[in-house]
Symmetry: C2
C-alpha cells in the first residue's frame, strides 16, 4: 500500500511518474513521528530491523549505524566515514516484522541518520521541510521494492552488447593506442565489446570536439572497431569550456543557456578545461539544446556515452578562488601553530565542491529562478535526461548506451550509473557487491564499479578477484586513473589465460544474466538480491553482507580478501556448488544448508545453484554478438528444474516481456 | 641458525645487542639473489609461502601482495594503499616449506615489495646499499621469532597497572574535566587505571610545562587520582618551541643540542606550538639532557608518558613554507585546468612531512655529522631511549610507563608503541588485530590501537565491539581526536552496563594476560600468535586473518563487522567455547574442529579454550591493584589441564621468570 504526503511546497523532481492522491498526515506515531518544525521525521527501529536501500553509498547492505547525506558529491575517497557519494537516492526500507518503504522526494540535501546518533532511531531531516513523502507498506521487502519501482517507472534498457566486457583507462590517448588495446585483446582471445575514451580524446577537454592531432582518423577508428564488434564509448563532461570561437560555448552564451550567478552573469567555475560554464540542464530549452549536441558523436558512429562531473563537480569557482588567494596572504610570514596551520591548509582543501559556491548560482527551472543548492541533486539526472531525450528524437526506438556518475531517482529511466571513482582496494571490491542490490532497489539496474579500482595501484590478484565478481555486474568495466599502475588483463606481464577464463565465463553466462536483467527491468524486480530478501526468517542469511542472489537461480559468494585460498560461505538451504575453472565447469556438488569453507583459486568462480532452479550456459564467444543464444546447456538442481529465457534483438528500446520468453530445452 | 652479512658501510642502529660474526656473502641464490648494484636483494616466494612480519603496517597478517616502505611517517590515513606508518620494522619471515627470517638493519628508508610487482618475488631495496643483513633459518616461524628476539634483546616491561583500562581524549582540557572523567568512571563502576593528557595540558604546547590557567592544581590532581589508583599519563612532543625565555629552548640553543640545517643554524620547523627545533636525539649529550627533562613531571608524581610526533613529524619547515607562498603566487589569476589546478593543490598538500625537508637538516651521531634522511628511522627510537635512560638514572629499577608513536626495532627495549592515529573504522578494528602479532614478532609487545578509533566519528556498537577486542591488547586505551564524537563508555547517552561488563572482563582476565605477556617478554616469545604459527600444516588456519591466539591457552575471534549478529569462526582443532556476557561466564561448550557460526551480542565476548589448556580467572576489580591474584577460578578443557601463573610486584624492571611462576590450584 502506497501513501503519499506533501509537506511545504516541494520542488517537482519528476522522480515519480504516477502520483497517488496526497493524503492528510494524521500523525500515525506508530509509523513515523514528526519533529516540531516539520523539517523531518523519525522512525523507531526494532532491534531485528534491517534498513535496506539508499542506493549509492558506502558501508553495508544493511545501512544501520551511520549518517548518510543525500548530496551528489564528486568525492573519490569512498571511505567508511564518507557520507555522500555521487548519487542521491532517498529510498530506504525498514525491514523486520513489518516492511516499510520510505521515499523522500526533494531535490535538496537530505540527512539520513540511520541509528547513528541513537541506535534505535532512524531520523531524516532537511533544511527546508519542503518534500513529498511516500510510505509503502507490504508483506515483504521485495514487494515494497516492486511497488516503489512501479511508482518511479521502468528502468533504463541498455543495448545487449553493453553486457559485454569493456576496457577503459584515463586515458587511451591516441587512435593508435586504442587500436593497440583492441589488438591485444583479440590476440589474447580476451572477449571485448567496448573500449572507453576518457577525457583526452577531446580538444582541450571541450565537449563535442575531437583532438585531431591525437585522433586524426576518429571516424575510421570507430568504423574499424565496429568491424571487430567493438564499440567506442566517449566521456562527456557536464561543463562547457569558456573559449571564444568554440561553438558550444558561443551558442550557450548567445541563447542564455548557462547557469547564472546572482548578478545574472554566466557562472564561471573550473573543471577539466579550466574556466567553464555549466549548461542549465534544468531549463527545458537548454537541456534540449545540449542533448542535441551528442549528435556530433552519433554522426561519427558512436552509440554509447558516459556522462561525468555532473554532481556538478566544481574544482573551483572563479570568485572563491580569488578570495582564497587573498586569504592565503594573511598566513604568510606568520608563526603557524597546529590551529592556524590546519586552517591555512583547510583554505586550499576547501576550494573544491564548496557549499558556498553551490549557493551562488541559479537555474531557470519550470520558469522559476531557483538557487542551485535547492535543486542540486537534479543536475546529473537532468544532464543524462538531456542526452536520452535527444537520442529518442535522433534515433527513435533504438537503445543507446548511456550512463552517468551523478544521479537522482528518476534518472534510472534515462541511463545507468557507474559507481564512481573508487580505488584499488579490496574493501571496494566488497563495497561493489554491497552497492549493487541497494541501487537495484532504487531503480538503477545497469550499474557496476570500476573493476580493479580507479584510483590507487592494483595488484594482479585484486584484478582477478574483482573480475570474478565483475562478471555478475550488468556494467562490466575495467577502468583506472592516470598515474596508477596499468590493470588491463595483459598488463601484469604474465599469461592471460586466467583473465580469459573469467571474462570468458561472463560470455557463457550472458543468456542467463541478460534474461535476468531484462526480467527485472520489465517487471520492476531486483536483478541482485540480498539473502535477507529471500530468507527473511533466517537471521544468518539476513545479516550476510558478502553474498548475493543474482537473478532467480543462483547465489554468488566471491572472495573479497587478499591472499585468501577460499572463504566461508553460508547456504540458507541446500544448494548445488558449480565450480568453474575459467569457462570450464570442473565440479558439481550438492552442499547442505549451513557454513562451508569453499576453496577458490584465483582463476576459479564458484556459483551456488538453488534447488529446483536451472542455469542456462552458452558456449561463449569473444563478443556478445558471437554468443549463440540458441545452443544452451542447462545446469539443473532438481530433475524438474526448468528455465525460461528472455531474448530479443538487443536494440529495441520499447520492448515488452511478451513474445520474448522461451523455455530452454536441455 | 643466524647468519649476518654486512654490505657497504652501514650506520649503526643499536637494534642488535649481540652481533654474530659477519660472514662473507657467497651468493646462495637458493636463498637470496642480489641485484647487480648491491642496493637490495630478491627472494623467491613459493605459492604456499606466507610472509609474516613488518610490524606496524596496514593490510593483513600475511603481507603478500603490497609494497611497504620503512619510513617513519606521521600519516593519519591508514588506508589499504598506505605504504608507511609510524614505525620502521624491517623484519619479516618467509614461512612455508622453509622458515626464513630476514632483518635488514639500516636507519634509512627501505622498500619491501612483497609480491606486488611480481607475485612470486620478494624484493627489498634501498638507496645506499649500506646495511646489515641477518638471515635466520629455523624449523618453524615461531623459532625464527625467538632467535630474532634473542638477537635484539628483551622487550620493554611496563608496570603492572599499565595493563588496566586507560581513557584518553584530545584533550581533557582542565583539571576539572579530568576529575569529571574519573568521577564518571567511578560512579558507573567502570574499571579505570589511567587517564591520558593530550597536548592541551601544556602551556602553549611547550614540553615540560603545565598550563597553570587550566591546571592550577596539577600536583594536587595527580595526588587525588593516585588515591583513586588512577595514573595521569601526559604526552610529550618531539619538538621544542622556539620562545625566548623558555628554559628548554634556551638551554638547547646554548648547548647546541638542536638539529642543524646545512648552514649550521638550528633547523626551524612547525609542529604544534608553531616554530620549533628538534633536539638531536641521536647525539648522546643532547639525548641525556632531553631525557632528564622528564624529571619535571616525575617530580610531580607522574609515572607514565607517551612520546608523540617523533617520526619526526614536520607540519612545515620555515624555508619550504616560504617557498610555497612564492610558488602559490604563480597560480594567481591563471586559468587553471585539471593539471595546473591539481599542481596548485599539491603545493599545499606537499608541505607536511616533505622529503626535501628531511634532507635539509643534520644530526651529530657518534661524532659524525649525518644528514637526517640517512638516519630518519632512528629519531623516535632515540627519543624514547632518551626518556628510558633518564628513568633508569632517576628512578633505578622501577618500571615507568612509556610508549611512543614512532619506532625502529631496538626501541622495543625502551618502551611500547601505540598503533598511531587510526580512525573510527570497522576495518581499523580488524587491522588492530592483524597488527598485534606482526609487532610481537619485531619485539613490540606492549602495544594496542586507539580503541574506538582516533579520527572520524565512532558509533556505540563500534566502540563496544572494539572494546571486546581491546581487552586482549596489552595496551588498552580508548582515545579520540578533537572535533570527533565523544566515545567514552558513558558518552552515548545510554546505560553503561555493557561497557562495564566488557572492561570488567579484562580485569577478570588480568592474571592470565599479564602472565602471558611477561612470559613472552622474558622468554622472547609471542604474546599474540597467528593461527599459522600453531597449525602450519592447516591451510585454512594459515590463511585465517581475523582470529588470534592470545597466550598459550586461548584463541579469540572478535566480531569485526557492523550490524553482525555473530561470525563464522574457524577451529583448527576441537576447542571449548567460553561465552561471557560481560564478566559472567554464561556458556561452556565443546566445539568440533571446523567452521562454526557463533552468535555474539554486543555485550558478549567469546573465547576459545584450547584442549589440555586452562584459563585462570580472577574475580575482577575496578583497578589493577584491586584484582586478587590469589583467588583464581580455573577454567579447563581436559581433566589434566593446568596453568602456571606468572606474578610479581609489577614494578621491578629487572625481574626474571625464576621465582615468579606459580601453579594455579583450582
Amino acid at each position: 500500500m502506497i501513501r503519499r504526503y506533501v509537506f511545504g511546497n516541494p520542488i517537482e523532481t519528476e522522480a515519480v511518474l504516477r502520483k497517488p492522491k496526497a493524503e492528510q498526515w494524521e500523525g500515525d506515531e506508530q509509523v513515523l513521528a514528526f519533529g516540531a518544525n516539520q523539517t523531518g521525521f523519525t522512525c523507531k527501529l526494532e532491534q531485528e530491523d534491517i534498513v535496506y536501500g539508499l542506493g549509492e553509498n558506502v558501508r553495508g547492505i544493511n545501512k544501520r549505524g551511520w549518517i548518510y547525506v543525500s548530496h551528489c558529491s564528486d568525492n573519490p575517497n569512498h571511505q567508511e566515514d564518507t557520507r555522500s557519494l555521487y548519487g542521491a537516492h532517498n529510498f530506504l526500507i525498514v525491514s523486520g516484522k513489518r516492511n516499510l518503504g520510505i521515499f523522500v522526494d526533494t531535490p535538496e540535501q537530505v540527512i539520513f541518520d540511520v541509528g547513528y546518533t541513537r541506535p534505535e532511531l532512524l531520523s531524516v531531516s532537511m533544511d527546508s521541510g519542503n518534500y513529498e513523502l511516500y510510505l509503502i507498506e507490504e508483506a515483504s521487502a521485495e514487494a515494497v521494492v516492486q511497488e516503489f519501482r512501479r511508482l518511479i517507472g521502468q528502468s533504463y534498457l541498455p543495448p545487449k552488447w553493453a553486457f559485454g566486457y569493456g576496457q577503459s583507462r584515463w586515458s587511451y590517448r591516441t587512435s593508435e593506442e586504442v587500436r593497440q588495446v583492441a589488438r591485444r585483446f583479440r590476440e589474447n582471445h580476451l572477449p571485448l565489446d567496448m573500449i572507453y575514451l576518457d577525457i583526452d580524446y577531446m580538444e582541450r577537454y571541450k565537449d563535442f570536439t575531437i583532438d585531431r592531432e591525437r585522433f586524426p582518423d576518429f571516424e575510421l577508428l570507430v568504423e574499424e572497431l565496429k568491424e571487430q564488434k567493438i564499440h567506442l564509448v566517449p566521456i562527456i563532461d557536464g561543463g562547457v569550456k569558456v573559449e571564444a570561437g568554440y561553438d558550444v560555448y558561443e551558442e550557450g552564451v548567445k541563447n542564455g543557456y548557462f547557469c547564472k550567478d546572482e548578478d545574472g552573469e554566466n557562472f564561471t567555475l573550473g573543471v577539466w578545461p579550466g574556466k567553464c560554464h555549466y549548461p542549465d540542464m534544468l531549463n527545458d530549452e537548454a537541456r534540449l539544446w545540449f542533448g542535441r549536441k551528442y549528435r556530433f558523436l552519433l554522426d561519427k558512429g558512436i552509440d554509447g556515452f558516459w556522462n561525468d562531473m555532473n554532481e556538478p563537480a566544481i574544482f573551483y569557482s572563479e570568485k572563491h578562488l580569488k578570495k582564497v588567494f587573498e586569504q592565503l596572504e594573511e598566513y604568510r610570514g606568520q608563526n603557524l601553530d597546529i590551529c592556524s596551520f590546519f586552517e591555512f591548509c583547510g583554505l586550499v582543501q576547501g576550494i573544491s565542491n564548496n557549499e558556498e559556491d553551490y549557493r551562488s548560482f541559479y537555474h531557470n527551472y519550470r520558469g522559476e529562478r531557483i538557487r542551485h543548492d535547492r535543486v542540486h541533486n537534479l543536475f546529473g539526472y537532468y544532464m543524462t535526461r538531456s542526452a536520452s531525450e535527444a537520442f529518442e528524437e535522433l534515433e527513435p526506438g533504438r537503445r543507446i548506451l548511456l550512463f552517468s556518475r551523478a544521479s537522482y531517482i528518476g534518472m534510472h529511466r534515462y541511463g545507468g550509473i557507474w559507481m564512481g571513482d573508487n580505488k584499488s582496494w579490496w574493501s571496494h571490491l566488497k563495497m561493489n557487491l554491497q552497492m549493487l542490490p541497494s541501487l537495484n532497489m532504487c531503480g538503477f539496474l545497469y550499474t557496476g564499479a570500476d573493476l580493479g579500482g580507479f584510483g590507487s595501484d592494483a595488484t594482479r590478484d585484486l584484478v582477478l578477484r574483482w573480475t570474478a565478481l565483475g562478471i555478475f555486474m550488468p556494467l562490466l568495466r575495467n577502468h583506472s586513473a592516470d598515474g596508477t599502475r596499468r590493470q588491463e588483463p595483459y598488463a601484469f606481464g604474465e599469461a592471460t589465460e586466467d583473465f580469459r577464463g573469467l571474462i570468458g565465463l561472463r560470455y557463457r553466462l550472458l543468456p542467463y544474466l541478460y534474461s535476468e536483467f531484462m526480467k527485472a527491468a520489465l517487471k520492476n524486480g531486483m536483478y541482485a538480491r540480498p539473502l535477507g530478501f529471500v530468507w527473511p526468517e533466517d537471521p544468518v542469511a539476513r545479516h550476510t553482507e558478502d553474498q548475493l542472489l543474482i537473478g532467480e537461480s543462483i547465489m554468488i559468494a566471491p572472495v573479497c580478501e587478499q591472499n585468501a585460498i577460499g572463504r566461508s560461505v553460508y547456504l540458507p538451504e541446500e544448494m548445488k556448488l558449480l565450480r568453474f575453472r575459467g569457462t570450464e565447469l570442473t565440479e558439481e556438488r550438492v552442499l547442505m544448508r549451513g557454513l562451508h569453507f569453499i576453496e577458490t583459486a584465483l582463476d576459479e568462480v564458484t556459483i551456488y545453484l538453488r534447488k529446483d532452479h536451472a542455469l542456462p550456459l552458452a558456449a561463449g564467444g569473444e563478443t556478445v554478438e558471437a554468443v549463440d543464444w540458441r545452443k544452451l546447456a542447462l545446469l539443473r538442481f532438481g530433475e524438474a528444474a526448468a528455465y525460461e529465457l528472455y531474448d530479443d534483438d538487443g536494440m529495441d528500446s520499447g520492448v515488452k516481456l511478451e513474445g520474448h520468453l522461451f523455455p530452454v530445452q536441455s
